[in-house]
């Protein structure tokens, strides 16, 4: 964590040193000699340091204090300025269930903020203080991150900073970019779009709403709420890309209200039925009984397309099927009139089975 004595000097562009590269060892020794002889230069240059970026970003972030404290809910979270008129982007949570949210900048300035609007689908909220902030992120300048990018996450995780203290800066890399949609059933989140997965524990109480930036200080994303990945059995450290929230934020700032979208996937009225297809599975005796086919009715659709006893159903319309329960659940969403593609394992072969309506 950082203390209040963070060196705020904006480092000057480094004097250019030209190294003639002859060989690694030679070079290392040489660099040592040069640098050892110029301690003051090396200190001013801030080589290898993210100090300047960190300080810049700090000035754009706020610590938010609101409702909570009951039932173990936290009463604080993070946010950052996104306009010269004092708009703040943060996550939508119970912390905001008060008339006036208190926002405290890294320079100690204190604001009262009110909620302008929310997007229930992204679980974000835009607040405004009505006063000009010391610095802000322009969402239009935000960039798309890539896997392997080094990043800084700036947030008030665990509420560790108070008053004029700066938020905490964590470093990491974008470990992966993944779609929460593809991990349906494993993560309880309203948001289903792509996220940056980070390799450092950024998503802790209070961190939600913090800023994710690259090492040039460019905004990449907003830290999300704590989420557990039940399939991998780990906590997910992630941020939502700004490109996913940008248009929504603009709408909110223009006073539009955003409705909760209906769950995109609804069970269908006439779902696919194993019995109707002519498939009998092995008895479902375990919590995760594999969907092995026990028998196929002669003359049925299943027999027609060549399904056989002992086939193991692995995927249905590209959704992974780990158990009979998974299979029954998935079929609820597939209409009898829909095309159905199954990937089954037969011995050591994978066979694709297509059931056209």
């Amino acid at each position: 964590m950082m203390d209040g004595n963070l060196d705020r000097r904006v480092t000057v562009e480094v004097a250019r040193w030209v190294f003639v590269l002859r060989g690694a060892w030679c070079m290392v020794v040489w660099a040592w000699l040069v640098l050892a002889g110029l301690p003051s230069w090396a200190e001013d240059a801030g080589l290898g340091s993210a100090n300047r970026i960190a300080v810049e970003v700090e000035l754009k972030t706020v610590k938010l204090y609101g409702a909570g404290g009951f039932r173990g809910l936290d009463a604080y979270q993070s946010g950052f300025f996104i306009s010269d008129t004092g708009h703040i982007l943060t996550v939508w949570s119970t912390v905001l269930d008060v008339d006036r949210v208190v926002a405290v900048g890294s320079d100690g300035s204190r604001y009262e903020a009110s909620v302008v609007g929310i997007d229930p689908n992204l679980e974000i909220a835009v607040l405004t203080t009505g006063t000009r902030p010391p610095a802000y992120f322009d969402l239009d300048q935000a960039v798309e991150g890539q896997v392997g990018w080094r990043v800084l996450a700036v947030s008030n995780l665990f509420g560790i900073a108070t008053g004029a203290e700066m938020s905490s800066v964590q470093r990491g890399v974008i470990m992966a970019i993944t779609d929460l949609q593809a991990r349906r059933g494993t993560i309880e989140s309203v948001y289903r779009g792509p996220v940056y997965v980070l390799d450092t524990p950024t998503n802790n109480p209070g961190a939600a709403g913090g800023a994710l930036v690259d090492l040039q200080g460019r905004l990449l994303g907003i830290l999300g709420k704590e989420l557990r990945d039940t399939r991998a059995n780990i906590w997910l450290n992630y941020a939502i890309p700004i490109s996913q929230v940008r248009s929504s934020v603009q709408k909110i700032m223009q006073g539009e209200s955003i409705q909760r979208l209906a769950e995109s996937r609804q069970p269908v009225d006439r779902p696919m039925d194993l019995d109707a297809l002519g498939i009998v599975l092995v008895p479902d005796v375990l919590a995760k009984t594999p969907p092995y086919i026990d028998g196929v009715y002669p003359g049925s659709r299943a027999a027609e397309v060549g399904l056989q006893p002992d086939d193991l159903i692995l995927f249905v319309n590209n959704v992974r099927i780990a158990s009979q329960a998974d299979l029954r659940d998935e079929l609820k969403y597939i209409d009898r009139a829909d095309r159905l593609v199954m990937l089954v394992q037969r011995g050591n072969q994978l066979v694709e089975i297509v059931l056209n309506p």
Partner: protein, 659 residues
């Protein structure tokens, strides 16, 4: 996190220039520059480019693995069934992953190659020492194979090197990347590298690569040692492990032939079972183990193992760690001033050890001799004609002999070989007695052994000071000093308080005539026991040992109700100092002892309570070689002695001191 402080910059630059050159020279994707101008941001950018270039060069050796069906739980734990990662080790479809990925025994395993092809895989073999599985997919050729990192050739130079952990759980095409350094080598008894890159189920089975894109090792949730729980519990701790790639390649042929690999076991029993104890003096061998066939003799000192000097027991374990069953371990020993080189062939299993019994009690006479103070009826000792009053002056040619030495000899005795005792009768006549030890029976001893000489007087209660712990503890002790060493029972009751009056009332006869101390440690918090309080058992023992002569053969940790679990944990943490565990109306639940029963570290268990309920726990303990006696008992609240029948309890306690 902490940003680098100013004073670090100079060295940071030096390190950077070193690796940047290495990266340019290796032909990795970075553009070679004849000049390097370094600004703060550029330095960070260049590093980032190096990480990404390495990952891009290496990511096609990692594949996604999906499992279908199988168990929902393994033990108490809900098994995650998300995708995991594997690393290609053979161009024709050989893939290494961790056993962790297949704990649920899936009905089917699919591998997705970076080009999107999805193929069924089968497990060909398992390396149980490194917790790896070798998979095969058929019908493929020309897959990219991971190259071993050249850094592995110089293990001394590994720590501090950049390392990137790759995983394919999120995406079969683009690997997830976590950047860190190599934190240590030779972890988990010489089997693993340690890294601070984020290692979790997302990348278990994936490669840990260097900045050239070559593989340092395969990420695995290996258990680092006996003191730390392994597996995925460490995933957010900054501690991750990888099995060195060269160690995997060295075993590839064996694994490809379908042969499973197991950790190699030696089975030597040393005079001091403490890991930090040295020098390492041989007492004997685990009955049936490799060490027995090696011809090791009691008194041999192991000085070199696998080319490395052995000063403590831990050094020997470090030498054993990376070796598999069937592999050789060269040993050098000192025997009577001579250096002898031996070659041990390590084995997969050592027969489960069960404690031995000859069937007599000993007391030390004033002139320091070992006198039989009682003989158990029906025991081998009785059958061999040993009588109360006989003195044992030697065993198997060792003469004179100490009580401890005799105990160790009995502990490691083979069941089919008789011990040769040199015995002095009460009349001064000498004779040799051959007696063959048996496996200690679970039944309570047929007799209660010797009683204390004279009366120790009406017992009293003394307080025990536990230092910085708030727990109140007391002991019921004999009022008069006695010459003979005393047994000690240390009890963890239910959380709350067990009054001294109750304990005194129940135990006073036993303390008075059988020479026992009964100590009770009340919980620090009324609502429950905490893990930290487990160490109070040994602390209390230490306090008592300073005040009284304690018989090392009669050290028992006991518990009432839930306190029995605390007692079990305390005993398992120091089996070389404890000989018995007593639980009264304790539901031990599901647990697996982390270590098997060992000579000189044996624990005898007495479980008092509902016999039917305790059967499963007893079976688990028996499988580990422990002796478990069950006594039916119930009634009263769980925080009282009432449930335990004192007669049977006394018989069991007396039995602990038997040879």
């Amino acid at each position: 996190m902490q940003l680098p402080s100013a004073c670090c910059y100079r060295s940071a630059v030096a390190v950077f220039v070193g690796w940047a050159l290495a990266a340019f020279g290796s032909g990795a994707v970075l553009h070679a520059q004849s000049t390097a101008s370094v600004s703060a941001v550029e330095l960070l950018e260049l590093e980032q480019q190096a990480f990404r270039a390495a990952a891009a060069a290496a990511q096609d050796v990692a594949v996604q693995i999906e499992s279908f069906g199988g168990l929902e739980r393994v033990g108490d734990e809900l098994v995650s069934d998300g995708p995991t990662t594997g690393t290609i080790v053979g161009a024709d479809g050989w893939i290494v992953s961790t056993l962790y990925s297949f704990r649920q025994q899936p009905a089917s395993i699919l591998v997705t190659l970076p080009d999107g092809r999805r193929l069924p895989a089968r497990i060909v073999s398992r390396d149980h020492s490194r917790e790896l599985a070798l998979l095969k997919i058929d019908g493929v050729a020309g897959l990219p194979v991971a190259r071993p990192s050249r850094l592995l050739e110089r293990p001394d130079d590994l720590v501090g090197r950049w390392a990137v952990a790759l995983g394919k759980a999120y995406d079969p095409r683009v690997a997830s990347q976590s950047v860190g350094i190599v934190s240590a080598t030779g972890r988990a008894y010489g089997r693993a590298l340690q890294t601070d890159a984020k290692v979790s189920p997302i990348n278990y089975g994936g490669p840990l690569i260097d900045l050239w894109g070559d593989v340092l090792g395969v990420l695995a949730p290996i258990s680092p040692g006996p003191m730390v729980e392994g597996g995925d519990q460490l995933y957010d701790s900054g501690i991750g492990f990888a099995i060195p790639w060269t160690d995997i390649l060295a075993r590839l042929e064996t694994l490809q032939s379908g042969t499973d690999i197991y950790p190699g076991k030696l089975g030597v029993v040393t005079t001091d079972p403490n890991e930090m104890a040295g020098p390492v003096v041989v007492e004997g061998a685990m009955p049936g183990a490799a060490a027995g066939r090696l011809g090791l003799e009691p008194g041999d000192v192991i000085v070199v193992a696998g080319g490395m000097p052995v000063r403590r027991l831990a050094d020997l374990q470090q030498a054993l760690g990376p070796r598999d069953a069937g592999q050789e371990l060269p040993l050098t020993i000192w025997r009577r001033g001579q250096r002898i080189d031996l070659q041990a062939t390590l084995t997969k299993e050592i027969p489960i050890y069960r404690r031995r019994l000859v069937g007599f009690w000993l007391r030390e006479t004033d002139d320091g001799q070992l006198e039989i103070s009682a003989v158990e009826s029906g025991s081998p000792a009785e059958g061999a004609g040993l009588k109360t009053g006989d003195r044992i002056v030697g065993c198997n040619g060792v003469r004179p002999i100490s009580a401890e030495r005799l105990r160790r000899m009995i502990a490691v005795a083979e069941l089919d070989q008789a011990l040769r005792l040199a015995v002095l009768g009460p009349d001064g006549s000498q004779r040799d007695v051959s007696v063959r030890p048996i496996e200690r029976p679970e039944a309570l001893p047929a007799s209660s052994g010797p009683v204390l000489d004279g009366d120790a007087g009406e017992p009293r209660v003394v307080d025990i000071n536990l230092g910085d712990f708030p727990n109140k503890a007391y002991a019921v002790v004999p009022v008069k000093r006695v010459d003979q060493p005393l047994g000690v029972l240390i009890v963890f009751p239910e959380p709350g308080e067990l009054e001294a009056a109750k304990t005194l009332d129940y135990w006073s006869a036993c303390v008075r005539s059988n020479g026992w101390i009964v100590a009770v440690i009340n919980s620090g918090n009324r609502s429950g026991w905490s893990l930290e309080e487990v160490e109070l058992g040994m602390r209390t023992l230490g306090r008592l040992q300073k005040l009284y002569p304690i018989d090392p053969q009669r050290v028992v940790l006991g518990g009432l109700g839930i306190g029995g679990r605390v007692a079990l944990l305390a005993a398992m943490s120091a089996p070389e100092r404890v000989t018995g565990v007593l639980t009264i109306q304790t539901n031990l639940g599901e647990f697996a002892p982390r270590q098997m029963n060992m000579p000189m570290k044996s624990l005898d268990f007495l479980l008092v309570g509902d016999a039917a309920q305790m059967q499963a726990s007893a079976e688990t303990l028996r499988k580990g070689g422990y002796l478990v006696t069950i006594v039916e008992g119930s009634g009263g609240d769980t925080n009282s002695w009432q449930a335990a029948p004192i007669d049977q309890l006394q018989l069991w306690l007396a039995g602990l001191a038997r040879y």
